[in-house]
């Protein structure tokens, strides 16, 4: 197949997955989908290869759809048109239990299974024992309490299987909201199915199969070329997650990365890590592999289509029964898309950055702070109806790159900035809350030639009611590191403001009950910087001061730029400051 025809067909499949995305976004009911965009849509081949994904959260997508497709086929060897499968088992290919994946086989008129279309969406609630979709402290899946669906057929002949849907209605909080989201998912996969069927009829299924082979080969070729340009290297990386329930001293994670440009491949080894933990932080097969893959793609993936072809060039070694690998039932993987996964991704891209200039990224800030908590309670404005949903206020966390300051609102490295933010007005309209403050915190950026994102400060509380706020944030002890001499980003912090205005420190994770009039203060993580801060263009430092990103004092102490009262640059004093040996300056850490 020539490059023209391949481009044509890839474009058409991309239009299909984008149309699926639009359906979920516009018609879903919970804020985590219809405001924050926490979902993904893709097409996999009948033999389980990721062919085309809409650009969305990479932690959902790079490895996962392949595993889910395999899992469904294992239990249902005969794929029939009109079937739809709900799957969220973390032990069988899903990311984590809160992501409900809906898979529909695309079966041609002759009854041959050609492709599957998938839509995966983070639920506002998934039936956990507590009102949060991230049970970081759950000792096991029983304490987690989630409802698990292991390749369950929810539609046959395009008709709902009410038995399963009734179970869900009884076990998720706010069932009408869930039902609306279910309809949105079904709408998306049915739309995708119809469009792929039309395409097959028009072009011929053999042509589509030929396309898949060549498209994946093309993508693999792009990845080969990208790896071939890298310096060879073997990296032994380590990173440390903060103390959490089940890991009172925190957790060291070890990652081996081997870059083999001569063989045009990269291997990431996650096997040298601890066994599954007695908490909800365990990764799944999908998120452990994907976390490593995102680190690689963030470093070198520009222009490479992320699909089964390009992923062949990155081998991720995982171990069964490992917290950073393939989990074993009944260990909980409730927070498998964020905490440890982000640690892996950040360490990989940091390691790649140390290989040479122009590769990799600094580390992104850790999550999930209360600024993006799952909030729940009853809404006095609607006569006491219950509500539960993840809100998405200001979470920054972007990492500096070899070419530019951080993308400010990256949120966390696993979502790559694809999550949208709630507007304060929508958050206040849909929940009985008031956001009293939301702003950047100056002097918290990872300093550097290019700077990481500063922390954000968000303060909110219930109005006319009490409310449960569930969150669990890494990064209160171990910040996002800079690379190639860049500084670390600001730490996370949580406080309660009582009715008199007094502030008390809160734990980094857990469920907090706020009474009417109380508020929670969430300081989110900053991102790491790239390159030495004293290499930053003084004009940019001057601009940072003028615009309030940093103080004049930090400009002098960390960036070595002296500014006069009127913020003009004192060239002579700057030259002197920058001539000082690095040891004479305070470390370029966030204050």
């Amino acid at each position: 197949m020539d490059g023209v025809r391949m481009a044509v067909i890839s474009n058409r499949l991309n239009v299909v997955v984008e149309a699926m995305m639009n359906t979920v976004f516009r018609s879903s009911r919970s804020g985590v989908l219809n405001s924050a965009h926490d979902f993904s849509c893709c097409i996999v081949s009948a033999d389980h290869e990721l062919v085309m994904g809409a650009e969305s959260l990479p932690i959902h997508m790079m490895s996962g759809p392949d595993l889910i497709s395999r899992a469904v086929l294992r239990f249902h060897p005969e794929m029939r048109r009109g079937d739809a499968y709900l799957h969220n088992s973390p032990y069988n290919g899903n990311s984590h239990a809160a992501d409900h994946a809906m898979l529909v086989p695309v079966v041609d008129d002759a009854g041959v299974h050609r492709f599957s279309v998938l839509a995966k969406a983070h639920q506002a609630d998934c039936g956990n024992s507590k009102p949060t979709t991230y049970m970081t402290d759950a000792r096991d899946v029983y304490e987690e309490g989630t409802l698990l669906f292991d390749a369950c057929r929810v539609q046959t002949d395009y008709q709902d299987n009410d038995d399963i849907l009734r179970m869900l209605r009884l076990r998720v909080r706010v069932p009408d909201q869930w039902w609306g989201d279910y309809l949105a998912l079904i709408g998306a996969v049915r739309l995708g199915e119809r469009r792929v069927l039309e395409l097959g009829d028009e072009l011929g299924w053999d042509v589509l199969q030929e396309f898949v082979d060549e498209w994946l080969a093309y993508s693999e070729g792009r990845m080969r070329a990208a790896i071939a340009e890298l310096p060879a290297g073997r990296l032994s990386l380590s990173t440390r997650h903060d103390p959490f329930p089940g890991i009172p001293d925190g957790l060291d994670i070890k990652i081996g990365v081997e870059v083999r440009p001569e063989r045009e491949e990269i291997e990431v080894d996650l096997t040298e890590n601890v066994d599954c933990l007695p908490n909800g932080l365990n990764l799944t097969e999908s998120t452990a592999a994907t976390a490593a893959l995102i680190g690689v793609f963030n470093s070198i993936g520009e222009g490479v289509p992320p699909n089964a072809g390009s992923l062949r060039r990155v081998r991720v070694r995982l171990r069964d029964g490992c917290a950073v690998g393939v989990p074993r039932h009944p260990h909980s993987c409730s927070a498998a898309t964020t905490n440890l996964a982000d640690r892996v991704t950040n360490a990989v891209q940091r390691g790649m950055a140390e290989l040479a200039e122009g590769i990799g990224l600094a580390e992104c800030g850790a999550v999930i702070p209360a600024a993006a908590a799952v909030v729940s309670g009853v809404d006095p404005r609607s006569g006491g109806r219950p509500f539960v949903n993840q809100i998405f206020l200001a979470v920054t966390g972007g990492a500096a790159t070899p070419w530019s300051d951080a993308w400010l609102t990256i949120f966390h490295v696993g979502c790559a900035g694809m999550l949208r933010r709630d507007s304060v007005e929508i958050a206040e309209m849909t929940h009985p809350i008031r956001v009293s403050r939301q702003r950047l915190v100056s002097d918290t950026e990872g300093a550097g030639r290019f700077r990481g994102a500063p922390s954000a400060e968000v303060e909110y509380g219930p109005v006319g009611t009490s409310m449960t706020v569930a969150y669990g944030s890494d990064g209160a002890v171990h910040p996002a590191l800079g690379v190639r001499g860049g500084g670390a980003g600001g730490l996370t912090r949580h406080l309660r403001r009582d009715r008199s205005g007094e502030l008390t420190e809160l734990s980094s994770q857990g469920l907090v009950e706020l009474a009417d009039g109380e508020r929670i203060v969430s300081i989110t993580a900053g991102g790491g910087g790239y390159g030495p801060a004293v290499d930053r263009d003084p004009a940019r430092v001057q601009e940072d001061v003028r615009e309030g990103w940093i103080s004049p004092r930090r400009a002098r102490d960390v960036y070595g730029v002296a500014l006069r009262e009127d913020l003009s640059i004192d060239e002579a004093a700057t030259a002197l400051l920058r001539a000082e040996p690095a040891s004479a300056r305070p470390p370029s850490q966030a204050s």
Binding site: R26, S27, R29, E55, P58, S219, L440
Partner: protein, 704 residues
Amino acid sequence: MRFAVDTGGTFTDLVIEDEGHLSVHKSSTVPADPVQGILDAFEVAAAERGCARRELLERGTMLVHGTTRGLNAVLTRKVARTAFLTTEGHPDILLLREGGRRDIFNQRQPYPEPYVPRSLTFEVPERVGAQGEVVRELDEEAVAGLAARLRRERVEAVAVCLLWSIANPVHELRVGELLRELLPDVPVTLSHRLNPCVREYRRASATAIDASLKPLMTAYISGLQGRLRDAGFGGRVLMVTSAGGALDAGDVAASPIHSLNSGPAMAPVAGRFFAGLDTTAPMAIVADTGGTSYDVSVVRDGRIPWTRESWIGEPFRGHMTGFPSVDVRSVGAGGGSIAWVDRGGLLHVGPQSAGADPGPVCYGRGGTRPTMTDACLVLGYLDPGYFLGGRSALDIEAAREAIRTQIAEPLGLDLLEAAGAVHRLATERMVGAIEEISGQKGVDPAQAVLVGGGGAAGFNTVAIARRLGCREVIVPIMGPALSAAGALISELSRGFETTFRTTTEAFDFAGVNAVLADLADRARAFIAGPGAGAVEASVEFSAEARYPSQVWELEVQMGAEGALDAEGLERLKKAFHEVHRDAFAVDDPGSPIEFESWHVRARCRITEPVLPEAGTGDGTRLERDIYLPGVGTVAAEVWRLEAVPVGAELRGPAIVESATTTIVIDDGAVFTRRPSGTIHVVPGTGAAAAAVPAGGAATGRGGK
């Protein structure tokens, strides 16, 4: 006599309607002094008519003007020094935006700067809650202090957007009053007045952009009016708006954001008109092909759709305004789009463009990278000696060489195949844009007529229609100046809206009817004021609604009736479920419906539209070899547009060309010249469409 003037990036188009006769004139745009460009266009028209410019202008009763002046000012940041005032605690609204990103593994894209810098953002001590309750009283002394600070900062415009001013504007209004007292010479925009939509970022963004344009647009408009008056024009000056209508120039000066996206908004107005004139299809897909972009909109049942989500600049990197404007999707594929082969051997067309300078290789102005236009020249679609009516010859050898070395050799194709591949790929990118918007609007392209506008439209309009299964294509005689033509037939129109929430579970008939009555009054006042003397006036009501806990509303039409009873509500409910099913493939008929806002649009048709009239063609034609992908090189009849006999059924392969456009009629297509001058084509399927997946384009999403 009426005039329409569209100031584009390269040309200023003037359309004159004179006692039932339409004429088009072009002159170069003068970027440093666009009014001069307009006067030049009148000079050209006067010369062609053999009269003095003053004489021509004196005969005019109305001038409808479209300009990208405001848009360019925003994109290049050449706007007033603007301050942003917002609720204390929330200074970073314009910086934090609404999240989202594109092209996630490209780490070279810097995060966008806020439209107003943080150093010119000021917090106002006050707070209104989500239900409109005053949570914290406005500190008026603090506002006075801010005013003094703004004076010191030499601020030239002020944007005020307080949280929940749409639920209760009391604080925003008071801030506006205080600023008027304390800074009487500085223009102010209040967010709830300008754009009463929920979501503070987009409302703030619209407010900031509007305020920042006021000094500039006020000066531009008064200069335009003054110089037109001095040159002899005594009529009314209207300006086209992003909503696809027109407003008095003075109203646009007061709210310049109205004109910001007006450029692409006019093509659907003209497209709807010609689709109604020359076809009976209930739906029209209107495409406008420019040098760098392909703009698409869908007109259904004569209604031009609007959106709150058009971006000024690139998605996620430009500015979202939330301001209602005609829903036009754009892809970076036009006549100047550059074709290139990546390292993996995949062909791409765009989004980079050679623009007007240096332009395609064949222009011989220094362009070295092959474009769509170069491909069409190589394919024989363009006559190198008749470009712009022969005013400028094209260098076909340079185009061949660029395509041979940069496309054909890397792909292992021969020259014509390579040029055909570029054409197919560009076609496919355009088809993708149409599929995206028609899918979202629930429109089946097979039921629609495709209207091709813009100078580069004719290269592949028939190919696009085939790929989409459209039964009809029209290229109107005014097609190359579709925007100016749209401006001439646009209606004076203005929308009014009120946020008023209620649900079908406890529908507040009295409240809604009071809102509708108020909207009806405002619409009537517009019709009686600016619309006085209109040939025909109409109002149309609509509501924005959603299922509970959805946050994106769908628009439901309510017709001309500005009151709701139980029966009307049932109709409205039914209509909402249908709209939802059309848009998303599912509905939830058992669910209650929440209504968010109520709208009315008043339209005043100022004059009877004049129908263009074509002369009868003399039937002369030439012949030229052209290459059609999937068919090969064929001898095609080449017609000058004015020579095509009216009403005769003719067959492709053929080329119909004029000084401003070239229409490729594929093998197997049937075309007719209508009495209006429109070329009407029944695309058929043709050997080409059957043999290849006609179309072609695209960059795989990771492949940029």
